[in-house]
Symmetry: C2
Subunit: 412 residues, 2 copies
């Protein structure tokens, strides 16, 4: 049975992890950063060494292409992203890109004729350092001028970052693939949870991706002298943000599980030992598999924010940032993943993804699904993130066979 | 009766407020910053224009000196500081320095012979941008090598800042004035509270300054994926910091009033929308007039920090930073302030200061007291900080007459 070259794939993963390597054993390669540029240059060299065709687009997406004989054939995509969160791990994103590259290399080496073009793609800024999933959104034709203007990393930083990649807002907005040009999208990824590990299974066939709503709560109080202003006369923005955080945490655990919220960043001004905080800006992300429940969750949390602010005498406004609707997978592709796992003798189950992925952007425009493999203790987005070598190779083989099934001519 | 030149003093205050002026009408002139250097150059020019002697020392303190005929006579100090908190106001510090300068100018113009040297001094970094009260501590001989190494702004930033002022750790540590060389210290300052305003009084004679304890609480959790990590498995450092903040606030209000606490800064890592915070560092300041109650307050708050951390599955350590013991004023100088106010026909009362001031550093080594004047609505450390012209002039006149009383030969 056809298999990927596991050693070559594992070596690629190790080599790439050196770019942005942190002392703790992780990787810090945020999108648009100089080290992201280094990672792109490394990928470019690996594609060139493979004899595959290198392709870039106006959104900074980078691909290896294995073209079929029919120029008019559609393109089957597989991939993920090469960027990481700050202080992230070695597998999130990289695994999907490098396994797709490996699958194409094997098919090229075996000279297997296919009826579609195959493309292993790395999407720009999946993690949202400046503008989440900008690459896949641009390719899917759903990137809007407003997205660029309201980028959560700031429009200026985005413009500077795009310049570093040699792209512009104009080129990104002109990146959409023509309708009908795609034959599907398959993304291999670590689970970032413990369901496979706890069930002792090797493969997760992802049936859909939760919706994500994000934004910033701006608490506006009144700065003042931290010694002379009596406690009961303060309008302390940090007090209000903290109060919200505690109430919101309890609300989500009690009423919205398995939905989650995350407050990952908090900025206080003026930020001095002896000054009462006049402003506190708290980032907020909410995730759930149901759009209806996300509506209720957003409403409940914003109400809590207003109550906490009112209780502490400050104001609050919510500035919505990116939101991504829940995205169901293609049932046909999910079945192909299951059939591939069966053929390879790997145990599998169906799962919902709680993380956002480029796949959710592609799902509305082409048959899409994801393959999950276990990661140790479910740990992700930290230096401890670990995908065992056998799981790397199992996942790449399931990806390879899923692509072969998708690439086969559909019998009418 | 001898009076200061109020117009000249008010003009000086207006001119100085242009350096570091913010859009909101305040001043941002943090110690050691380039704009602090501009403020110092401006003060230097004003001293030179006055015909007073300019003096600098190894800790960056800057003075105008009016020497008496006896070189061996002690020196009577009056002053405050020219630095501000970030986004601060126009009067905190500047008022005390410029009123002292004005008092010396009047005495020089009137050619009033005194039995002591008079010195109008601006102390370095009273606000603690890098190392609080470094200037007064150096002059008082209580600056230690350890203070420089554990500076709350960081030892590296302090070294860079000192270089900008042309001083070094060695020169700062060699700045102490000889024992017996000082005849006293008087500091005019805005009240930064509403007690004078509410009582309709013009002058506060400050009987002492509260003690201050400060430090940082480092909450250490485990970073993780903000979408896939279930809420009940997180060790979120920001959750713990927030929980502590709420509990500590309630504790201080209920059990330690009129003592206060302030959490003015909070830094979260890795600080991304979609990453569970692994670290949160919260600044903490506690103030009370009694050292014994400060002991109890510190113990209670650290216990709350450990409880909050334990409840949320994270660790916490407290890194103590600067602390300043409560400092009672000289009763003799307090009476001179009251007598001066009486002579000028100004209403006065005795007050405790809830803010730290250079005066508390000087109090242990020379007869010290402070003069408070009202500021509108008690607002301070913000652009809204306002001291009315009549209060500026009243305060400067009380300072002038208190200095005259202190400078008079003590009748045995």
């Amino acid at each position: 049975m056809l298999e990927v070259n596991g050693d070559r794939l594992l070596r690629d993963l190790r080599d790439l992890a050196r770019l942005g390597a942190t002392e703790e054993g992780g990787v810090s390669r945020p999108a648009f950063s100089p080290v992201d540029v280094e990672g792109r240059q490394w990928f470019r060299r690996r594609v060139e060494a493979s004899g595959l065709e290198l392709r870039g687009d106006g959104a900074g997406n980078l691909s290896a292409v294995l073209a079929c004989d029919d120029p008019a054939a559609p393109t089957l995509l597989a991939g993920s992203h090469l960027d990481t969160v700050p202080d992230g791990g070695r597998f999130d994103g990289s695994l999907g890109v490098l396994a797709a590259l490996e699958a194409l290399r094997v098919l090229k080496e075996r000279e297997i004729a296919l009826s579609v073009h195959l493309e292993a793609i790395s999407f720009t800024d999946e993690e949202g350092t400046l503008l989440g999933e900008i690459g896949s959104k641009a390719l899917a034709g759903c990137l809007e001028v407003e997205d660029l203007e309201s980028a959560r990393g700031g429009a200026t930083a985005l413009a500077e970052g795009m310049a570093r990649l040699g792209i512009t807002p104009e080129t990104a907005l002109a990146t959409a693939r023509p309708a009908g040009s795609l034959a599907g999208y398959v993304e291999l990824h670590i689970e970032q949870g413990t369901r496979l590990e706890e069930a002792g299974l090797q493969i997760g066939a992802v049936t859909g991706i939760v919706g994500i709503r994000s934004g910033r709560l701006h608490f506006q109080g009144v700065a003042g002298h931290g010694g002379t202003l009596p406690m009961d006369r303060r309008k302390d923005a940090l007090w209000a943000a903290s109060e919200f955080l505690g109430r919101a945490r309890r609300k989500v655990v009690e009423e919205f599980a398995p939905g989650v919220m995350n407050c990952g960043a908090l900025h206080v001004r003026p930020s001095a030992f002896n000054v009462v905080p006049g402003q506190a800006t708290l980032s907020l992300e909410m995730r759930h598999g149901s759009e209806e429940i996300l509506d209720a969750m957003e409403e409940a949390l914003l109400q809590l924010a207003h109550e906490a602010a009112a209780d502490l005498g400050v104001e609050v406004i919510f500035e919505a940032a990116e939101r991504c609707p829940a995205a169901p997978s293609s049932e046909r592709v999910v079945r192909m993943i299951e059939d591939s796992a069966d053929a390879l003798g790997l145990g599998h189950t169906r799962l919902l993804s709680f993380a956002g992925h480029d796949a959710q952007v592609l799902a509305p425009i082409t048959p899409t699904a994801m393959i999950f493999v276990p990661c140790v203790d479910g740990i992700s987005h930290t230096p401890k993130e670990l995908c065992r070598p056998e799981d790397v190779v199992n996942g790449a083989n399931v990806l390879l066979h899923t692509l072969l099934r998708l690439a086969a001519p559909v019998v009418a």
